[in-house]
Symmetry: C2
Subunit: 235 residues, 2 copies
């Protein structure tokens, strides 16, 4: 079965967590909105009068299923591609961690959009500075400290201690994104999360991930995505 | 089996979506943090060096499982208590809707905390006014319009068209919360979501929910929770 991934064609964004899982799995998929007339097809599916129309991208078409919400898509893909346990307890635990990452991703987004997603960054720049300061002082240590502790406890090979899961791929993306958006902050912070940095490096060396990152399928970071580099916020 | 729910004892917050499901199901549960020394027990579980320590409340102890993240708890409870389909496609769809509600709940929280969750409301009051204005202009119509359309399509008895699910209970809570926090805004807006208002009223009349709402187990809304009434934001 060829999966159809629907996500905004110009950014990594939330779709990237799904792309990383599909790439690591070597799954057959098409990134629909990056094909001709693909974005129009994506918009039509959200307006569908029947079936399970998603609220927002990303969503995945898998045969007759249309699955929305990043973590929900990974919940579906994980056990099918060896990227999460198949038994319920392990599946719920990995999903719980992914939902915690989703919460963190939303807080990353709020650093440049504290007054809401529909206003321009330029119109909320001073608020963005305040929110970013709070983010690095309180939120990054809390979230990444949590994952670092879990990694330590696991022995350090993967977050759940045994096999690689989609959560490890997502944590790779978090480190990549923070390095892109906040290089100065991150440079100072990385010594506090040696386990996560090591995990990041090991994920980056995996053959399928390495090939993906070097390909055109990996969209470069930019200032339309979740992780945005604004010099004035990285001080 | 007696479930143990762990959540902050003084607020409805995110725990309320779980409480409503447990109450509708007539499940045997104890709201641990509301019992003597319960909050200390809750804090200890988050610091656990083994098992599946959650990042934050709410979490549910179900036998030997400890399940965190509101939507994940409902994913677990739903099929066990007739509050979601048992087959995967329906289960994923209901979960997807719950995750969309979770996104909306976070935006509700951001109306009074746009500069971050660790600063006081009083220190971000003018930013809260701006965010709230955006919230009512753009975000409420987008989210509640989505659910209203799904309800219309379903025929109006429940969001998935057939049986009541935990999503219907959560939508009841959204209407209750918006009415408490923003009575003026909501009064003007309700005519645009007749289906959701009707769903709210039907949920409120269900015997188990009615008994719960009249009991001391239902914590009143207050200004420590997600839905907060600040007069200056409801203009």
């Amino acid at each position: 079965m060829r999966y159809e991934l629907y996500y905004w064609p110009g950014i990594q964004g939330r779709g990237e967590y799904v792309r990383l899982a599909l790439e690591e799995a070597g799954a057959d998929y098409v990134d629909v909105a990056r094909t001709e007339r693909g974005t129009a097809a994506m918009m039509r599916m959200m307006e569908a009068g029947s079936g399970t129309p998603p609220f927002a991208p990303p969503y995945l078409k898998a045969g007759r299923l249309v699955i929305g919400q990043t973590a929900n898509i990974l919940l579906y893909l994980g056990p099918r591609h060896g990227l999460s346990p198949k038994a319920e307890p392990g599946k719920l635990w990995v999903h719980q961690l992914q939902l915690t990452i989703a919460d963190f991703v939303l807080e990353v987004h709020d650093t440049h959009h504290p007054l809401g997603p529909t206003l321009y960054y330029e119109d909320q720049q001073s608020e963005a500075k305040q929110r970013t300061s709070e983010f690095w002082k309180e939120r990054v240590p809390k979230y990444l400290g949590y994952f670092e502790r879990l990694l330590e406890r696991s022995g350090g090979t993967s977050i759940t201690g045994r096999r690689l899961t989609y959560v490890d791929l997502s944590l790779f993306q978090i480190v990549e994104g923070l390095r892109y958006a906040f290089p100065k902050h991150m440079k100072a912070f990385e010594r506090r999360i040696p386990g996560l940095i090591d995990l990041h490096d090991r994920v980056a060396r995996r053959p399928n991930i390495k090939a993906y990152l070097a390909s055109e399928r990996r969209i470069p970071f930019n200032e339309d995505g979740i992780f945005r580099h604004y010099k004035e916020l990285d001080v």
